[in-house]
């Protein structure tokens, strides 16, 4: 209920800004006489899916020796197939543009089917090891499967899971499969994260430019930059020239991201860039072995200076409030 909005509706009608027929529909909402339970219904569906998949995980973990792996794999597969079959039957026609869900529960049934299928594939891999020593590749298969479903049924949630599963595949396979190819150090995982992040950013650009699911692009771009910047930040504390190199790359990347985002008026990415630059500068200062008071002085002066500069930038960028 919002008494100010209720009063304003009458005022807007008097001024001729709002037609009376629209005001008649808006007044009950402003007075709290009509309340939508749409967000609550979505939340119920979402929590229901999470609880169900959690329960299935517990069932398998606690009882797989009693039930038997074949029965479990078959049951999970059947449940996943059944759910996804229903989703396929009731889905809207495919479009590269954003497609509203045909009904409220659709997105959550799709999520349930995807989670069941992924769980089944993971269980089969762990129990029967069809991929043998290359078992991490099952994550790539799962990621590809999720991507296909996300694109077909227009689900950003499943798309984000596809991306994070792909990133998980890169993270694991480095330590298992690529010891022969690269020296397996923490840096290898870090560089995989950077490459993975850049791939996601490029994917986002492709989606936007090709107008194929352009509404998926923000998920890909934000996750990509988080991976890249997170990996660079994690490299800063490394000792010696290696750490300094990471800090410099972080500073350059942050600057470039901030500059590009400033020109494109992409406010969240601009904030990522500025924070990265600030963290890089702070890490560099800490590496200079200044005493505690000098470091504090740096943080005070740099923060104040950055606030003053950002005030001017903000007026130019004019981010919507």
């Amino acid at each position: 209920m919002n008494p100010d909005v209720a009063e304003a509706i009458d005022d807007l009608v008097r001024r001729g800004i709002l037609p009376e027929d629209k005001a008649t529909r808006l007044r009950p909402i402003a007075r709290g006489e009509l309340v939508s339970l749409y967000p609550e219904l979505r939340l119920l569906f979402y929590i229901g899916v999470l609880l169900s998949t959690a329960g299935i995980g517990v069932l398998v973990k606690q009882n797989y020796e009693n039930i038997g792996p074949v029965v479990i794999a078959t049951a999970l597969g059947a449940a996943a197939l059944g759910t996804l079959f229903w989703v396929a039957r009731t889905a809207s026609p495919f479009s590269w543009n954003e497609t509203p869900a045909p009904y409220l529960a659709f997105d959550y049934l799709l999520l349930l089917g995807v989670l069941l299928a992924a769980a089944d594939l993971a269980f089969i891999e762990v129990q029967f090891t069809p991929l043998g020593a290359s078992w991490p590749w099952h994550l790539l298969i799962v990621s590809f499967f999720m991507t296909c479903l996300a694109v077909r049924y227009d689900s950003r949630t499943v798309f984000s899971l596809a991306l994070s599963t792909f990133a998980a595949w890169r993270g694991l396979s480095v330590s298992i499969l690529e010891k022969q190819l690269w020296r397996a150090t923490e840096n290898t995982v870090r560089w995989n994260a950077i490459c993975c992040g850049l791939l996601f950013v490029l994917l986002g650009r492709f989606l936007t430019r090709s107008a194929r699911k352009p509404h998926f692009a923000p998920v890909s771009v934000y996750l990509g930059w988080l991976l890249v910047l997170g990996a660079l930040v994690s490299g800063g504390p490394e000792p010696g020239w290696e750490g300094i190199a990471y800090v410099l790359v972080l500073g350059l990347t942050g600057s470039g991201l901030a500059w590009h985002s400033f020109r494109q008026r992409r406010f969240a990415l601009f904030a990522f860039g500025i924070l990265s630059l600030y963290i890089a500068a702070g890490q560099l200062v800490l590496k200079c072995s200044l005493d505690f008071m000098e470091s504090l002085f740096w943080f005070v002066v740099s923060s104040a200076g950055l606030i003053a500069w950002l005030g001017r930038v903000q007026r130019k960028m004019r981010e919507p409030v």
């Binding site: 100010d4 304003a8 807007l12 709002l18 808006l26 909402i29 709290g32 009509l34 339970l37 749409y38 967000p39 609550e40 979505r42 119920l44 569906f45 929590i47 229901g48 999470l50 609880l51 169900s52 998949t53 959690a54 299935i56 995980g57 069932l59 398998v60 973990k61 529960a105 999520l111 989670l115 769980a119 993971a122 269980f123 762990v126 129990q127 099952h138 994550l139 799962v142 949630t157 994070s164 599963t165 998980a168 993270g171 480095v174 997170g230 969240a268 904030a271 924070l275 505690f292 008071m293 504090l296 002085f297 943080f299 923060s303 606030i307 950002l310 903000q314 981010e319 919507p320 409030v321």
Partner: protein, 390 residues
Amino acid sequence: MTPEAAHADRLQAVREAAGEWFRSGWINDAALRRIHEAYSDDRVRAGISFRILFFILTLCALQGAMGLLYMLTRSSLGIGVLALAAGVACAFVTDYMTGPLKRRQGGTEAAVSLFAVVQLTVAVVVVNHEAGLWSFETRVMLDLLWAAFLSLAAAWRWGYWPYGALASLLFFAGVSRLPFGRLMWLLIPLMLWRLLLGECDSPHLPPALRRCSAAILTVCILAFYAAVNVYSLDHRVVEFDLLFANPAPLPIVRWLSIALTCTVPGMVVWVGVRDRRRLFLNLGFLLGFASLVTLRQYVHLAPLWLVLVAGGLALIAAAALLKRLLDSAKDGTRGGFTAAPLHEDPRKQRALEVLASVATLTPESKPFSDKSGFQGKGGEFGGGGASGDF
């Protein structure tokens, strides 16, 4: 809040509502512009990205400056005096920024206000403990109550609802130190809830202070439930039994606690349905979930996996039935409720779902094991394990 800030807050509420009407297609671009002209904004605001940047950087600058000053002092009392001076100065600066400078939703003034509250709290805590006039428990209680008072004053003066929630949390934490703390957790919400409910809808308060009232009411309801919950009673959660020697509750008190654990969620939902208040509906759902978890602690009717799966399917079925019930009514409305999205922005909820899914359902990093065999865990079953560590 000052009358000018309160008036600006009311205008902002109308502009936000107009934005929702435009997004939902109720009004066109021309009408939106006319509403913005009629209810024009005189405040200096920043978008969410800049707001976060300004907030973080302002806190860094202020905390760094205080750190330097603290290091120059030689005594705890000196720190207390410094903190007092800084807190008072920042309180005046916040007033100046939100008053003559007309800043609102800018990030900087919120950070300065937070710093003021923290420094004034530090000042009194230092003096309180240096003076050593009371026992340690009494001093902690006074610290909490003082912090609660400061937060409440900040909420009333500057209209930030998190201060309202913080004030009530600190207040209940403070009174829990008293011998009858649990009783206070029961009585104070019962005394205040009607008043707070009225304030949530009062046209005499600006929207920001109505939100503060709602935040305080939420904490009061949660405190009341925490006081009656049988698990909290058995484990002395409110009384901090390590510090107090409390006798076991009487059997009649325990039975009453069990009854209230079962019925309070329903009563909250009933108020939500009767008065069409989403806050109560959501709280009732949360408390109902807590009661079911409490029940599971005492009564093992079924294995955990069955409880989770049945619970999940029950929620899905309940949502589907409720939607059908509402859609089947005349105009899709029953008792003032509808399943149709009115002005809700689905992008926000979708973004939260994406974040929650990535955070909870992404495959976890697990060390590779030579043993075969399934090692899935509950909600992490979705991926089989992969390294996400960098």
